[in-house]
Structures are given as structure tokens and as C-alpha cells.
Symmetry: C2
Subunit: 196 residues, 2 copies
């Protein structure tokens, strides 16, 4: 019974992700969701209190997937270069492995109610700050050249985030391979002694 509820709830999140992505959050009704799942609208409320709760849950999922391990990586006994490479590879792979969820996140996070939006922005800023600290540490240790750390982090995240516009799971390279290539470009962009 518990398992049936769980898999139904997962299915609900997955269907909501697809509908929000295609129609937008505001244009998707609980009725649309019920129809897509072949359920009675009333039964939906057994799983979820409101459409807003659904959006919140999806965006929390996205945030936790994208932010996973950043604190761990930052605290790890690794050089700034190793930390940066690991963080960027994780980020790129997470984007490409959760294309629908990431698209909803990017399109809809502004639809969150104000206090939740504040939380989401704070989580994102914490993540960006960690990356800036890693860059700063690498500059201090002489491993990285002097760069504008904020612009560099925004540039690198852009390179990785943009994959959601063009990555195809049916393409020649896997998400993991592409993440390695893009993280390598970023590493070369800031390293004092890049491989040639």
C-alpha cells in the first residue's frame, strides 16, 4: 500500500514536470493533471494539497539535484582545481540527466510564492558562492590565474546550463562525456599551467 502510494506520487511528479514544461505552470490545471494520469481530480488531493505544493516539490528536487555535494566537495581534502573540476562535472551531468526538471526549474522558479522564492534564491546563491570560494582559493594558492570570480562562475554555469537547450540523450556523446569536455574547457580557462 505504502509502495503503491509512493510510485503513484512519483508518477504525479513526473507528469506534472512534463505538463509544466509544455503548457507552463500557470496554464496547467489540476484537471489537466488528473486527465493525464487517468485519475479523478478528487483523488489527486490524496497525494498533493495544491498545484503550488507540486511546483515547490519539483523545484526542491531540482535544487537538491543541482546542489548535491557542493558542500562536501568544498570541504573535501582536495586542491581547488580538483574541487572545481568535480563540481563542474557534477553540475553538467545533473543538467543533462534531468532535462525536463531543469527546464521547469528555469522557466518557473519565479512562479513560487515570495517566501519560497527567497529560499530558492538563497540556495542558488549559496551554491554560486561556494564555487566562487573555490576559484578564490585556487587564485590564492597560485593554481588559478587572476580572474573575475563572479563573472567566471556565471560563465562556467552558463556553459553547463545551456546544455539543456541542445543536449540529446540520442546524440553521439553521453552526458558524462560532454560534462568532462566542458569542465575541461573551464579548467583550462583558469589554470595557470594548463595542459597543452
Amino acid at each position: 500500500m505504502a509502495q503503491a502510494k509512493e510510485s503513484r506520487a512519483d508518477q504525479l511528479l513526473e507528469t506534472a514536470t512534463l505538463l509544466f514544461k509544455e503548457k507552463g505552470y500557470h496554464n496547467t490545471s489540476m484537471q489537466d493533471l488528473a486527465d493525464a494520469l487517468g485519475m479523478q481530480k478528487g483523488s489527486l488531493y490524496y497525494y498533493i494539497d495544491s498545484k503550488e505544493e507540486l511546483l515547490r516539490e519539483l523545484l526542491e528536487q531540482a535544487t537538491s539535484i543541482l546542489g548535491a555535494q557542493i558542500d562536501e566537495i568544498y570541504a573535501a581534502d582536495l586542491s581547488p582545481g580538483e574541487k572545481l573540476q568535480r563540481a563542474l562535472e557534477n553540475h553538467g551531468q545533473a543538467i543533462m540527466d534531468h532535462l525536463n526538471l531543469v527546464t521547469v526549474y528555469l522557466q518557473e522558479y519565479r512562479s513560487l510564492p515570495p517566501e519560497r522564492l527567497q529560499e530558492a534564491l538563497a540556495t542558488r546563491e549559496h551554491y554560486e558562492r561556494r564555487l566562487m570560494q573555490i576559484l578564490q582559493d585556487g587564485i590564492a594558492s597560485g593554481q588559478f590565474r587572476q580572474v573575475d570570480v563572479k563573472m567566471t562562475v556565471f560563465g562556467f554555469l552558463g556553459m553547463l546550463n545551456w546544455t539543456h537547450q541542445w543536449f540529446s540523450p540520442e546524440g553521439e556523446l553521453t552526458s558524462g562525456e560532454i560534462a568532462v569536455i566542458l569542465a575541461d574547457l573551464a579548467m583550462q580557462a583558469v589554470s595557470v599551467n594548463p595542459e597543452t
Copy 2:
């Protein structure tokens, strides 16, 4: 009279850009446009035949701004490094200086009718191919290291395109300054003898 028509037409394009950006192309009606412009709906047709023509015109504008000078740069008597830097700086600045238009382009180019979509995609591919050729030339001449030229171009364009998500004209740095910083990161990422 001709001038009045022209400036009205410009105003129409600008207003359409804003409405398409905020409500989406499909959710914007000719009536919405007329209301926003304080015009009769019937008068709109003096300037434009259809909503579709409006979208086409906006997307052509975006394509021509983004693609401007790529053939010129490619054919110029410059090293591959100089060409790449110039092309990337142009691209970044064009994105940041036309945020609304670029957002509509990215959100709505799939709304074009099939034959126009084909044209738009062909223009984009031509642009990407030119950048790949510049990279390839630089690898052949020994100025750039061996990289996957396709992934590298997609990565660099992502870094620049993503600025439309975060750039603010009220921020500390101008679009021109940011374009130079990001193009420099890209140059360092591929150069065999980067500055340190």
C-alpha cells in the same frame, strides 16, 4: 508620413517583443497588441499582415543581430585567435544589448511555421559552422590546442547566451566589459600559449 509609419512599425515590433516575452507568442492576440499600443485592432493590419509575420520579423531581427559580421570576420585577414575573440565578443554583447528580443527568439523560434523554422535553423547552423571552422583553423595552425570543436563552440555559445538569464543593464559591469571577460575565458580555454 513615411517616417510616422516607420516609427509606428518600430513601436509595434517593440511592443510585440515585450508581450511575446511576457505572455508567450501563442497567448498574445492581435487585440492584446492593439490594446497595448492604444490602437484599433483594424489599424494594426496597416502595419502588419498577421501575428505570424510579426514573429517572423522579430526572429529575423534577432538572427541578423546575432549573426552580424560572422562571414566578414571569418573572411578577414586575421589570425584564428583574433577572429574567435572578435566573434565571441560580438555575440556576447549582442545578447546583452537585446535581452528581450533574444528571450523571444529562444522561447519562440519553434513556433515558426515549418519552412521558416528550417530557414532559421539553417542560419543558426551556418553561424555555428563558421565558429567551428575558425577553431579548426586555429588547431591546424597550432594556435589552439586539440579540442572537440563542436562541443567547444556549443560550450562557448552557452556561456554567452546564458547572460540573458542574469545580465542587468544596472549591474556593476557593462555588456561590453562582460563580453570581453567571457571571450577571454574562452580564448584561454583553447589557446596553446595562454597568458598567465
